[in-house]
């Protein structure tokens, strides 16, 4: 007689055994399994809400891959860009470069839990999670490769994470902290509970909704397919958090959540906020970034915190204030430093400015004059007048330019530690740094390296240092492009 699924699944999920040749502490060292170190008994009730078997996993993933590849096949390669808005193409290029190889790093994180997670069911879920993350790398790489024939910069889908480009350094700093340099417990809270449960909904589901309206059905299918995987393995975070709270680690859990919320917010405003409201065509926009954040991220996060009787992060009021401004300020930074990016950047046109003002009533008053100024500079002196030439101040925690919250309201602050002065864009970044200063203190931002002579200060050399071949590969104004002279041969003596 063949056993039914539910007759054997619990036995298969829970194959923990008592080690006889080594101590449990040696099998699961605290340094990589995580703290607090608890005996296996404490983890015995680790349960995922949605259970799956390997057989079910393979069948489901095969169907999902077939759906994505079916759309890819239907849209023959020469038609991949047909009818796509030029801004949307840049959004995809931005997204691919910033996300594809993070997923591959995510596979390392899942594999760490697959070995050092403290319960068998956790390790099983993480094993499937690792397979997910490999898939999430391979699909964007495949589609990015298809797009190379249309735009060579799509090689940044793979190349970006191998460069010292400043956005990528900021992303790597975050993800190293979140999971590559984290033990199994910390990464379950930081990656699965905060990042995947909270934020990837925004990046993947919101982007999928916009892709549909932008008529980019391959991208829509890809990101929606990825998010269904994320939703499954994200559930690792809940039972890990529950076990921590049941065993006296409330303060530690609250810290990890607060820290990672702020760090994820910083990256998402830079990546998703700017892309959604300055690269996506107006016709594809449904809600504003703020509305997406409120509905898809904040409300869900509040429910999660309430489930565990945890507090809102202490910086919540600042976060709420930033929702109206931070990504708009960041867009000005992207625009004026666009030659240091691998995608083109848009100056909002009249229709977009009206849309932005409709969603953010203070937008025109706060940012209108600055964009007007850039428009006049284009008219008076061409491209050169619209580029920033001085170095921006970079935060020593998030590694992003210190441009928050808005003109006239900056939150930058410093810290003196062991003879070195550190700059932070905000109090939360400084607070995180102070909690784990030995973890962060030795890192040097791009600006630190330039000031110390470890990276070139001359812009043309800096492009090369960041992996950008100028001007062919470097970001341009989305609508105006380059001044024609920029493509002339470089004069020689």
């Amino acid at each position: 007689m063949v056993l039914r699924r539910d007759d054997w699944l619990d036995i298969a999920r829970k194959v923990d055994w008592t080690p006889r040749y080594v101590e449990e502490r040696e099998l699961f060292p605290q340094e990589i399994s995580g703290r607090p170190w608890l005996t296996q008994d404490a983890w015995r009730n680790w349960n995922e809400a949605y259970r799956t078997t390997y057989r079910e996993y393979v069948a489901t993933q095969r169907d999902k891959d077939a759906a994505v590849l079916g759309v890819r096949a239907a849209l023959s390669k020469p038609r991949l860009f047909d009818d796509l808005d030029p801004g949307w193409v840049q959004l995809v290029k931005f997204h691919n470069g910033a996300v594809a190889l993070v997923e591959y790093a995510g596979a390392v994180a899942e594999l760490r839990m697959a070995r050092f997670g403290r319960d068998s069911a956790w390790r099983t879920m993480a094993t499937l999670g690792a397979l997910d993350e490999i898939r999430h790398t391979q699909i964007p790489l495949l589609i990015g490769h298809d797009l190379l024939a249309h735009d060579g910069n799509f090689d940044w889908t793979h190349k970006a994470f191998h460069t010292s480009q400043w956005v990528i350094l900021a992303a790597r700093h975050l993800f190293d902290d979140m999971f590559l340099a984290a033990d199994a417990v910390d990464l379950a809270i930081q990656l699965n509970f905060v990042f995947e449960t909270g934020f990837t909904n925004l990046q993947f589901m919101a982007m999928a909704a916009m892709a549909d309206r932008a008529h980019h059905h391959l991208f829509e299918k890809t990101v929606a397919s990825i998010q269904t995987d994320e939703a499954r393995h994200a559930q690792i975070g809940h039972p890990v958090l529950r076990t921590l709270l049941e065993n006296g680690s409330r303060e530690r859990a609250q810290y990890l959540i607060d820290k990672m919320w702020w760090r994820c917010w910083r990256l998402f405003l830079a990546l998703s906020g700017t892309a959604m409201e300055y690269l996506a065509p107006v016709s594809a926009r449904t809600r504003s970034f703020k509305e997406f954040m409120t509905e898809w991220v904040t409300e869900q996060f509040m429910k999660n915190l309430a489930e565990f009787d945890l507090e809102k992060p202490w910086f919540w009021d600042l976060f709420i204030e930033e929702l109206d401004y931070a990504h708009h300020s960041f867009q000005l930074g992207l625009y004026t430093y666009r030659t240091t990016l691998w995608f083109d950047v848009a100056m909002p046109d009249r229709a977009e400015r009206e849309w932005l003002t409709g969603k953010y009533p203070q937008w025109e008053q706060t940012y209108g004059a600055l964009w007007d100024q850039l428009e006049r500079r284009w008219e008076d002196g061409g491209e050169a007048g619209t580029l920033a030439y001085g170095l921006p101040a970079l935060c020593n925690l998030c590694q992003l330019p210190a441009l928050f919250i808005r003109p006239g309201r900056n939150t930058a602050c410093t810290l003196e530690l062991d003879g070195r002065r550190y700059l932070f864009c905000s109090e939360p970044c400084r607070w995180i740094f102070q909690q784990e200063s030995s973890r962060f203190a030795d890192h040097h931002s791009v600006v630190d390296r330039i000031v110390a002579g470890q990276a070139p200060g001359k812009l043309t050399d800096l492009h090369e240092w960041m992996g950008l071949q100028a001007p062919v590969e470097t970001g341009k104004d989305l609508r105006r492009g380059l001044d024609p002279w920029r493509l002339d041969p470089v004069p020689t003596a």
């Binding site: 004026t336 030439y389 808005r406 003109p407 006239g408 930058a412 602050c413």
Partner: protein, 79 residues
């Protein structure tokens, strides 16, 4: 001595790195910051503050004003 500072102008959107000799005056430092910003032609008088909010004497040198490597200064423009 050459120092690097982080300047924030009230009508700009980003902090900018200023590398300068510290024998220059605070007024010259403020002028350098707004010259690199988006609206250098706007004019108006400039008030310079340190991170704690204290107003710096525009005639003082950067060193006399207590600014050193990695310090923040803020420039407010009044019309």
């Amino acid at each position: 001595m050459r120092v690097y500072l982080f300047g924030f102008a009230s009508d700009d959107f980003v902090g900018r790195v200023i590398v300068t000799p510290d024998h220059r005056t605070v007024a010259q430092l403020a002028g350098q910051l707004v010259a690199w910003g988006l609206a250098p032609e706007q004019g108006g008088s400039l008030t310079v503050r340190n991170e704690a909010g204290g107003i710096l004497d525009p005639a003082a040198t950067i060193a006399q004003a207590g600014l050193g490597n990695g310090d923040i200064f803020k420039v407010e423009r009044s019309r």
